[in-house]
């Protein structure tokens, strides 16, 4: 068990190393002089030189990478070109709305997709099954901003139930928080629930054909007990794996959703950074989001033994 744990944790190191190299290389892979690109089209030669010195771009590549990596490992992601603030602090200030949105989205997605996937598998081949699968295809096909604007149009502009945009923290009251969070979480949750519902159905179908399900039914357990107590428990591993993979979709979606609903989180920070070509911020955000994604998938892997006692490392 512990040797597996150790190996699995060690295995994330090369992955993060490649991520670090890619993030670092982003700046240097771009055609032309990165300093000129960052300084912008209208920059004078002096301004370009200033940017180059500021970022240390005049040093040898290996030296730049070593010093950058050293800083990153100490939690220093550099400073914004735009206003000179430390990138780590900029991200830290914006984490709360993004975390709230992500958790609400996951909650919505799971609350919708698990029951749908279970019912679809149970009623496989019927119109209910086809309906759920149809919903899943729609979920894959509608980009998150399309659903977002659809919701705003319906719930804010036509029915006037909810505020159009913005964010309210929990400190401003649960009602305010929920009123601002419902539409973003629904929009992003819709896309994710399509993925989860499909996977839940697939792995439930597999489990439902097993002998022990027939045994459970034969000894007179209710459908609910069979589906949730026996089937879902055994189908959990692939479902949780899909949730781990879905985090990548969630992160990409957060950037878009925060833009549509003007939520001042890390996603909006990313978009602002792109428009300002604030490269240290973009690098920092990509690095942090990737690390979160890798860590969540590490947690997913480690949860297998807990979810399914048959899995021994």
């Amino acid at each position: 068990m512990f040797s597996y744990l150790g190996r699995r944790i060690l295995a994330t190191i090369p992955v993060m190393a490649v991520v670090a190299v890619v993030v670092f290389a982003l700046l240097h892979l771009a055609p032309g002089d990165p300093a000129a690109v960052i300084a912008g089209d209208q920059a004078t030669v002096e301004e370009v030189a200033k940017v180059r010195a500021q970022l240390g771009l005049d040093r040898p590549l290996a030296v730049q990478f070593a010093s950058w990596l050293g800083n990153v490992l100490r939690g220093d992601l550099g400073r914004s070109i735009y206003d000179g603030q430390p990138v780590t602090r900029m991200i830290a200030q914006r984490v709360a709305p993004t975390l709230a949105l992500s958790l609400c989205t996951l909650f919505v997605a799971l609350a919708v997709s698990l029951p749908l996937g279970i019912i679809a598998a149970w009623k496989a081949g019927t119109w209910i099954d086809r309906g759920v699968m149809g919903f899943a295809v729609l979920g894959f096909s509608f980009p998150v901003f399309v659903i977002g604007y659809g919701l705003i149009y319906l719930l804010s502009l036509k029915l006037e139930w909810l505020p159009v945009q913005g964010y309210a923290s929990l400190r401003e009251g649960v009602g305010e928080f929920a009123a601002h969070m419902v539409m973003p979480a629904l929009a992003l949750g819709w896309v994710l629930s399509a993925l989860f519902a499909r996977m839940t159905r697939t792995s439930m179908l597999e489990v439902l054909s097993q002998d022990y399900i027939r045994t459970a039914q034969a000894k007179g357990l209710s459908n609910r007990q069979v589906l949730v107590g026996h089937a879902l428990k055994n189908a959990a591993v692939p479902i949780v794996t899909t949730i781990g993979i879905g985090i990548a979709l969630l992160i990409g979606g957060v950037v878009v959703t925060e833009t549509v609903f003007a939520i001042p989180g890390v996603g909006l920070l990313t978009v602002d950074a792109i428009l300002r070509r604030d490269y240290p911020v973009i690098q920092g955000v990509v690095l942090v989001f990737s690390a979160v994604y890798v860590l969540i998938n590490l947690a997913v892997d480690l949860s297998y033994g807990f979810l399914d006692p048959r899995i021994r490392y």
């Binding site: 090369p14 992955v15 993060m16 190393a17 490649v18 991520v19 190299v21 890619v22 993030v23 982003l26 700046l27 892979l29 771009a30 055609p31 990165p34 690109v37 295809v137 729609l138 894959f140 096909s141 509608f142 980009p143 901003f145 399309v146 604007y149 659809g150 705003i152 149009y153 502009l157 159009v164 499909r198 697939t202 179908l205 597999e206 985090i247 990548a248 979709l249 992160i251 990409g252 979606g253 950037v255 878009v256 833009t259 549509v260 990313t270 978009v271 950074a273 792109i274 428009l275 070509r277 490269y279 973009i282 690098q283 955000v285 990509v286 989001f289 990737s290 994604y293 890798v294």
Partner: protein
């Protein structure tokens, strides 16, 4: 699948025939006629600069379809090459797979955004950025097919009679990777169309003067409360296009991979 094919065919015809179907130059401004709601003269209305939305949406279909097909083709070709190499050359396999793992650890939309942020906005760069984000998944798929096939008796037999490796790859392995790759390419096409729209929507995609659906939606964003149709019309077209491609993908999957189809 037939519905998907029919929808996509209609969209492709509209995209190709855009210069003849359009009522006006998609970039022609006429400030006097700005923000006209959809009606008889302007089918889908006009935007803030008085540009005809119907014409812009038609031309937008070109961008989406070109990006979708180009990314699907390029990422499949590159992923196939790397996947074959990785599946057969054990020495490079470990290195290549670590690189792919690393690339896959960066959420694809984020990677595409980061790549676009550094280059100048152009269709070529959008295609390259999305392709880079998609390649690792194709590589993984091809490699897994190759690894399964490599242990099959017919490959062993080919080895035993002295068939050179490249020949085994081309004659025995390659044809077997085609069915799952076609399905994968279709889904990549759908996701590339979405990612292009997202990039343009965020201001990191097509140049602002190109009427791509993402750009049109981004321009209509600030006026959403007054002129929602500027956002809604291209959104509908975008969703229908992606839906059509996804339906084709599902149909192909059912037809080409019966084992998977029964489970999905």
């Amino acid at each position: 699948m037939l519905v998907g094919l029919a929808l996509l065919a209609l969209l492709a015809i509209a995209a190709i025939a855009a210069p003849w179907l359009a009522h006006a130059d998609p970039s022609a401004m006429s400030p006097i006629k700005r923000l006209r709601p959809p009606g008889e003269e302007y089918w889908f209305g006009t935007d803030t600069l008085g540009r005809d939305l119907y014409s812009r949406v038609l031309y937008g279909a070109r961008v989406s379809l070109i990006v979708g097909f180009a990314v699907a083709f390029l990422s499949t070709a590159v992923g196939l090459a790397i996947g074959l190499l990785s599946g057969f050359a054990r020495r490079v396999d470990a290195v290549l797979m670590r690189i792919m793992d690393g690339l896959m650890a960066i959420p694809p939309v984020l990677l595409a955004i980061a790549l676009m942020a550094l280059t100048r906005a152009s269709m070529g760069n959008v295609i390259i950025a999305i392709t880079v984000a998609e390649v690792p998944r194709v590589t993984r798929l091809v490699r897994s097919v190759v690894l399964t096939l490599r242990e099959q008796p017919f490959v062993e037999a080919a080895h035993a009679v002295g068939t050179p490796t490249w020949r085994i790859l081309v004659r025995h392995i390659l044809p077997n990777t085609v069915p799952p790759l076609i399905v994968q390419a279709t889904y990549i096409c759908a996701s590339a169309i979405i990612v292009e729209a997202i990039l343009s929507f965020l201001g990191a995609g097509m140049p602002p003067n190109v009427p791509s659906w993402g750009n049109v939606i981004a321009e209509g964003r600030t006026l959403f409360q007054v002129a929602a149709y500027i956002v809604i019309v291209p959104s509908i077209f975008l969703s229908i296009t992606v839906l059509a491609v996804n339906l084709i993908g599902d149909g192909l999957r059912d037809a080409l991979d019966p084992r998977l189809a029964r489970r999905m």
